[in-house]
Amino acid sequence: MSVRRGTQGREHAGRRTPRRAAPAASRDFDQMYPMFAALRASRPRHIDVLERAFDHAREFRARVVEPNALELERRMMENPRYVAEDILAEAARRRLFTSLVPKAFGGLGLPFGAVMLTLEEISAGCVGIANLLAVHGLAITSVAATGDLAGLERVSRALVESERAGRPKLLSTGITEPGAGTDTEDADFLATARITCEATPVAGGYRLNGRKIFISNGSIAATHVVYMPTDRRAPVETTFAFLVEAGTPGFSLGRVERKMGQKACPAAELVFEDCFVAERQRLGKEALPGRRIDLIFGATRGGVGAFAAGVARGALERARAFADTHRLGARPLIGEQWVQMRLAQMHMNTELARMAYVSAMLQNELFGLLSLMQAGALLERLPARLLASAPVKRALRSRIARERVEGGVAGLHDWQVAATSASGAVAKAAASDLAVENCGLALDILGASGLRHDAGVEKLFRDAKLLQIYEGTNQLNRIEIFKKALGGAHRR
């Protein structure tokens, strides 16, 4: 597929042609993010970074996402193994894959906030494409959580170099198993989960066996970060992250799923049959379950919140554009009071979804994993040339550096970990519920037109539902909120 380049701020003319209710341009940065704009005087450089990321994402959405989203989806419907190489290349050209990667490893090292704003904007156009471009963030976060700086450097450098070449080597994260979905994302549930995967210790490394399912980008990733216990009878104590390269003997792809929406981001089964990985491919010294997993999902669930805020806004923009240009009988649709009320509700929902994820984002910037991942502000201030020098590289791989990051995770207070975890769960569950509601309201406003694929709104509805499911179902996230924010002990 050759990428169709769009123009920014197209006007929608005529009642029936084109059918697609092209969204009007959204409000600008100051209006959408007053919580940041208000800080411009005190933190000008930081706010400038956020604003540039927002503009950058808006340009990508207008020129690449909007003109290609529906066609890409139809291609993926025909063939779920289709790879959107042109879109990946356009994203690579804009360095969208390495925005989270620390500067020390060649990435842009953008603050978490800048990445979240980017996710919202792209998701307003197509959350499937946003997921295609961003799901490796879960892998990077997982690697960072292990405290294995050498591992983080390896995956980061590979991503940076391939991005530079225009063919990004993507990362996927293998967590879900056929008999254990939600259970794998909570340490309490993991204890009784029906885990079938196991990384058996052998001479020089581990033999991986089992299957991982629903792995986003699993069929196109070059490297997989796979969660597996070394003893499946004790998953809480022995689950580690392993790096597995595509093409490793014993590793293969199973089914690529046909799913309801977010088709731009393929979901695949990863199959491990006596797949040998070397000792150094096991990341970190301590098992992930517990505060490390809490910190990982505290960050990435905030990202799902940003996806959801984008979908909520995309639904609002399309419904508004439709109401402005169509009639119900002889009357303009926008003149109907019920339409005005529904649009107002959609605006409220969008604002609330954004507040939820921004709150999670700030929590992460205060004491979440991502603040630790940037390997300290000191490193970020070093000139790039110095960062690439051999002594600094050696220092990053050193035991001292690892202990510093390890110490960072260990040094957090329990309440800080709990607050980060809870805010991520709140952002994910609240914003995804609001996004699904907005898509339903958009369908109500568009009526028959909303049912057609070429209008783009039914796609939003299908895409939105997955937000309530991945990164733990919203039911699991409510349990997390009860445990982490309210200090409760969960019972069935």
């Binding site: 629903f214 009526g447 057609r452 694929h453 499911i469």
Partner: protein
Amino acid sequence: MSGGERQLLRTSVARFAAEALEPLTEALEQGESLPPAVVDGLRALGLFQLGAAPEEIALLGVALETLADVSPAAASLVLANAAARALLLDAPSSAARARALEAPGPLAYPLYADISEQIADGGAWELVVGAGPASHLVLPFDESSVLIVASEATSIRLGPLLLTLGMRGCPTKDAQLLEPAASSRVEVDVRRALARLRAPAAAICAGIVGRSLRTATDYAQSRYQAGALIIEHQEVRAMLARMLADHAACHDAVERLASGELPAPLARARFIEAKERAARATLDGVQLLGGNGYMEAYGQERCLRDARQAACCFGRLEVERQALLGEWLEGAAGA
């Protein structure tokens, strides 16, 4: 209509759906249309002849609830035909009407159009259900007239097959009238004719929710989470209980609407309720299966898409709500 007749029809339709439609599910989802053999099968069951008299409405309700359990797409093809027939039967005699009614069927009708003071928009209709296999299109022009157009007439241009949210496989196209004078426009009270079809339309909702509930219950009884069967979790039990209540409400709506005993506002209220509950219940149905619910292989996501589309049958829910209150206030003033 006897219980025996109902049971016989239910059994016949269920057998046809299992043998002829169930194996086609995946192909229909991938973009194929209901094949001529299926249309012939529906015709052979007599489903394209039902939909005028009260007893026929009840039978159609039974048939469509059974059919929608397997293929809401096929059920919506039958419903569109029934809507077109109901409109023609209420219209005064004319040659065009007679030709359309004598055709073997199905007839096509824009099932999701709002019935407002001006339905035809510049001579264009969206989502005409059945366009393709239908011999004739019956197109509502305004609240009090319809156009009858032969599918092969040069006065009409049909667009390509459309991909829609749900009901995939049901042949659906846009229609554009090129020569208004060449079509036959007949007077008919569109709202009144379509009101008779609420029971079979609600039956499609009931059929979809029934399947979704069954799938969710089976899943919850066979899968584990947090060391226990999913069904042992209180939250899951609450979701299933809501779905059960939704299904009961949809099914009850079909029965009450088919009886013809409900006064106008209550009939409309029941219809609205069935559509709302189907859309809500199937959201829970997907959620309950987690990631599996989102994958086509389990069929649950199809229930959600089909239910959301069924909720737009005969127009927007909000337009229905506004009309409901109008009818109720009118009735109260009359009393």
